[in-house]
């Protein structure tokens, strides 16, 4: 019964592959362009990726659990429309009410997702595709598909303001990432997310309440979407029913690129953050080189495939073991 770990170098590349690629990418961007390293540009990168980053932090839980949540984009738009509407109707004193309303609306969707998946055994793809479509449809019905303007301008501090030169959305992203990273890696609940994602039957046999873990994860994802939707209001002092279209797939892509395979049981919060910024820096680079923005989804898709292929090739990926 001798245990032999595989080669150390292979293990390092496997574990930190995305980080290595990210560092090389950033380094070459510094070398190849004079604009990438400017404060203005780095601030833009932070500003543009924080909303998707917060969603990806929640999505990391769902993917490690062995599922995912397609309704995050719709929930983000929902939070933004509900919050903005309340703030417009009630004026500046209505800001806290708008925030509470946005969170409550998303919690309702998250609890629906969690209930369907955890207690009724509905497949996560089906459940969240359903709520994604229903919620988006209800938003269109309620707004007649027209945007809501007139949120008190003071609220843009949240979306456009800065603290010590760092955009406020990026600070919120950092706080969410630290908090959720702590929950995922240090608490029993986070531990159970890995356990259920790795072997749900075994976890249940050993006394883990797997349904409660699943339910809580989808509620957590909905809170992240709510935070993103609220920041969205703060960036434009308005809300658009078409907001956050496709965010679910970008967030899932970032998590997978960050090293969490769709099969569940694996992944790290730090990996997700690297995944978010890897996709973000590539998009920024294309922009700086004057490439048409239409190429950006092409790049995202290729990176996604490359990351998963590497993961699978190194024997530990989405389709390995």
């Amino acid at each position: 019964m001798i245990f032999r770990p595989r080669g150390r170098g292979v293990a390092v590349v496997r574990r930190h592959g995305v980080l290595i690629v990210f560092v090389l990418l950033v380094a070459s961007m510094f070398v190849m362009t004079s604009t990438f390293g400017t404060y203005q540009n780095l601030r833009n990168v932070l500003q543009q990726n924080s909303i998707i980053g917060i969603i990806a932090c929640g999505m990391t839980f769902a993917i490690i659990l062995g599922g995912f949540d397609l309704s995050v984009g719709s929930m983000t738009a929902l939070a933004s429309v509900v919050g903005a509407t309340l703030m417009i109707e009630l004026g500046t004193p209505g800001i806290p009410i708008g925030i509470v309303g946005a969170v409550a609306a998303c919690l309702l969707v998250g609890a629906t997702n969690g209930g369907l998946i955890a207690y009724l055994g509905v497949n996560p793809f089906v459940a969240t595709l359903g709520t994604m479509t229903v919620v988006r449809g209800l938003i269109y019905v309620a707004t007649n598909a027209s945007p809501r303007f007139g949120v008190p301008y003071s609220f843009t501090t949240l979306g456009l303001g800065r603290l010590f030169g760092i955009p406020n959305p990026a600070i919120l992203f950092l706080l969410v990432a630290l908090l959720l990273g702590f929950i995922l890696h240090r608490t029993r609940f986070g531990h159970y997310v890995y356990a259920v994602g790795g072997n749900s039957v075994a976890s249940a046999q050993m006394g883990v309440n797997t349904a409660r873990v699943r339910f809580a994860v989808y509620v957590l994802v909905s809170v992240c979407a709510a935070i993103s939707g609220i920041i969205l209001i703060g960036q434009t002092a308005s809300a658009t029913p078409q907001a956050a279209l496709g965010y679910e797939l970008t967030a899932i892509a970032a998590v997978i690129v960050g090293g969490a395979p769709l099969g569940g049981g694996r992944g790290r919060m730090a990996g997700t953050i690297v995944g978010v910024f890897l996709l973000g820096v590539v998009a920024n680079g294309l922009n700086l080189f004057g490439v048409s923005p239409f190429w950006q989804p092409v790049a995202t898709g290729l990176i996604l495939i490359a990351a998963v292929a590497f993961d699978g090739y190194s024997g530990r990926g989405a389709f390995g073991s």
């Binding site: 019964m1 245990f3 072997n199 075994a202 050993m206 049981g265 694996r266």
Partner: protein, 259 residues
């Protein structure tokens, strides 16, 4: 008669248990005793009712009629969790380990140690890591690397971890269904050593096995089942594989099976 083993030292005894699934009678008037501190074998052909019997003891199935006594008191296990709480652990055939979790995390799965404010449930990884070695080394000579994910271990190492986990939590009776069915010779030997170590630690074990060599290597006594009935008990020292085979196949039905 074989029935003379019905002594007050039985940890668990089952009397007249019946279980049917629709028209199929899986267990018919089954009675047996598990002597405290013994390794008892349970043998029989496919479909003889061994798995049904073990599932009734472990709380997965509820008997239609009959009674079970555990530790001298009537036992009525409502669920596997209930059985575990009262000291009956089952080592499942599919191992019940989470492959992505480390050995220590599997050992503590569902029983994690925490530190700090109660509501946060912050894991005390250091304490679990340090206690894992100690707990496993009670039963295992070569403790596998406890910080490695279980999926990196061999099948034998995994089975050893699963069995040691069953013994580590103060259980009194451990049920095993074909614990070495998928293992090679050396791994089977390692698993058998762990089972014998559990016995040395005072645990009572019921093991289903198709391998009569193994049954005669590790058990103290053998219950034989045929067609949903428990047809008899033999002390290993006074029996022989040929006798057990003839009981399993029914060739010795008239030779007196203790009924």
């Amino acid at each position: 008669m074989a029935g003379s083993t019905n002594t007050p030292t039985a940890l668990l005894s089952m009397e007249g248990v019946r279980k049917s699934f629709g028209a199929v009678v899986a267990l018919n008037d089954a009675s047996l005793q598990l002597p405290t501190g013994n390794i008892t074998g349970l043998v029989g052909d496919n479909g003889a009712g061994k798995s049904t019997l073990i599932k009734i003891i472990s709380g997965v199935l509820t008997p239609d009629s009959g009674s079970i006594e555990f530790l001298g008191k009537p036992a009525n296990f409502a669920s596997p969790a209930d059985a575990r709480e009262q000291g009956v652990e089952t080592v499942y055939q599919d191992l019940a380990l989470a492959g992505n979790l480390a050995v220590w995390a599997n050992l503590y799965l569902g029983r994690e140690l925490t530190v700090g404010p109660k509501f946060l449930h912050v894991l005390d990884k250091r304490a679990m890591l340090s206690k894992t070695s100690e707990m496993l080394s009670r039963f295992i000579r070569n403790v596998p690397p406890i910080a490695e994910p279980v999926e990196l271990l061999s099948g034998g190492q995994r089975q050893v971890v699963a069995i040691a986990r069953a013994g580590a939590w103060g259980s009194k009776l451990i049920l095993m269904d074909e614990p070495t069915a998928a293992l090679g010779v050396a791994e089977t030997k390692a698993v058998e050593e762990v089972i014998l170590e559990l016995k040395r630690r005072g645990l009572t074990i019921l093991v289903i096995s198709h391998n009569l060599d193994q049954v005669f290597r590790i058990t103290d006594g053998i219950w034989v089942m045929r067609r949903g009935r428990v047809i008899g008990y033999r002390e290993k020292a006074r029996s022989h594989p040929d006798e057990i085979v003839s009981m399993i196949t029914g060739a010795a039905a008239s030779a007196g099976a203790g009924e």
